[in-house]
Point group: C2
Chain length 328, copies 2
Amino acid sequence: MQWYFVAALLTILTSSQGILTKLSQNKDSTYDYDTATVPFLGEIFKLLVSCFFLWREKETSPTPPKLTKEWRSMQLFLVPSVIYLFHNNITFLTLKYLSPSTYQIMGNLKIITTGILFRIFLERKLTKLQWMAILLLAIGTTTSQVKGCGDSMCESLLSGHITGYILAIVSAFLSAFAGIYTEYLLKKNNDSLYWQNIQLYTCGVFFNMGWLIVGDFQSGFEKGFWWQRIFNGYTLTAWLVVANLASSGLLVSWLMKYADNIVKVYATSMAMLLTAVLSQFLFDVKATIQLVLGIIICMISLHLYFTPVHMLVDLPAIETPVRREEDP
Amino acid sequence: MQWYFVAALLTILTSSQGILTKLSQNKDSTYDYDTATVPFLGEIFKLLVSCFFLWREKETSPTPPKLTKEWRSMQLFLVPSVIYLFHNNITFLTLKYLSPSTYQIMGNLKIITTGILFRIFLERKLTKLQWMAILLLAIGTTTSQVKGCGDSMCESLLSGHITGYILAIVSAFLSAFAGIYTEYLLKKNNDSLYWQNIQLYTCGVFFNMGWLIVGDFQSGFEKGFWWQRIFNGYTLTAWLVVANLASSGLLVSWLMKYADNIVKVYATSMAMLLTAVLSQFLFDVKATIQLVLGIIICMISLHLYFTPVHMLVDLPAIETPVRREEDP
């Protein structure tokens, strides 16, 4: 399978997520199901799918899939979950200092921090052109989100508390680091991707379970234990939300192994713009010039990052040197 | 003199123009002098400066400067003035259909039309990378001007009359064509630039004079003939406005001869952003996130357009093939 096909599919699934979530609301624009259970069920779904694929791989593959089962290696799969645990708590804290719209704008920093950590930890060199493309992607997504002066936006971006900005930057680094670390884990050896997924999602299931238990404690068990109400109010659309989230996760994992974090960042950024465009048609949201500008900027960025340079500057293609026998 | 030095100077002078004009207002934020006379006096100023420089060139240059004096060649210098005459009338018409802020946004199209006509009429090839840089420049200047939804902007951009948009596009082509045609004229032969300027500005003086006369007719000679009040209310700052406009004009002419229209477009676009930044400090205008985004986009565009490609993608520099004697 080609990575750009997977990336395109991820773009479509990710952009459907917001729309499906909105469609899963009841008439009062609230949710009949407990939205906190969605990530947990998503992890279960991914775990089951990965188990199935690993079983099929064992059955059909002529050579048995490689599975590293040492604890030294397996414990590393805890790391992304631990990072996300920190990240989620910091997000919670950041929102005490910054307005949601400022937080959303600051979230685009993740594109740049991913580039930085990609360079540092995975030691992947990027050309100046690719750095500019990454910067442009962040600028493009930000542009599309700017509400403009006149309403609160203009004030709030500059009037947030400095602690909030620092936390948002830390948050952008943590979230990027989780992605970079996952890429490192999946590419570290040539274990079967499904086996690697099983380790990753098993951790995910337990951490999400912990999250639900904490929630129960915080609400003083008002609604009882989480497992007593886990499937309450789940409609078909709500299940689609879970299935969609889980499928996106599986595609991300595939991209991390066979492509890289930058491809994933492009797919999810494009998804954000696609969601905005689809919302125009589905939910009667007004088109803004910022959205149009943001889309053009991101398209240029995509082009700059992925187009071979000889096509950008009309040079003859540089041929890969072919190894040949020494002349006698 | 290096072209980038001239371009930087043009950026500074152009960005001062708006600020000087604002500073030349009286306490009631109106003008004591007739602003319609500024372009006319500017043309006179440029004509005098060019005459002086031509005289000095004749005196000091070891070889006499080349001056083509055929009518066939001289009449071509009327063309830019005629185009501007059309352009100014179309602007006037466009503003009946579009709001001033929409007109301002549409004005950024001139960057793209300049690129198109540069390619078609001057037959200068641009790489895909340079095309994307030009598109980004237009996007960047537009981004910096977007007021955002919430106030009238969001509505007005989409609700203008179609005739207005067509006129704005025609206007962008005309204005770009005047620039391209001037570049063609100045580069057509190796006449002294000062002699070419004299022809250009003589036409400019007459056309601007015509414009003042038309104004007098339109106002029913309420304020008498234009020459009776031409210097009325001119303060030192007002004279600086004239001198600044004229100096910018002379630099543009230099750039057209020794660099090109794209360099000029970059200089004036950067000037627009510089004006916006300076206004923050001088006139207590609030900084917007759009301005910051616009500046970054334009900086990336500048970098993409002018940086040699081997520096963008870390290739070894391509050496210009040196002609050498045939081996014996």
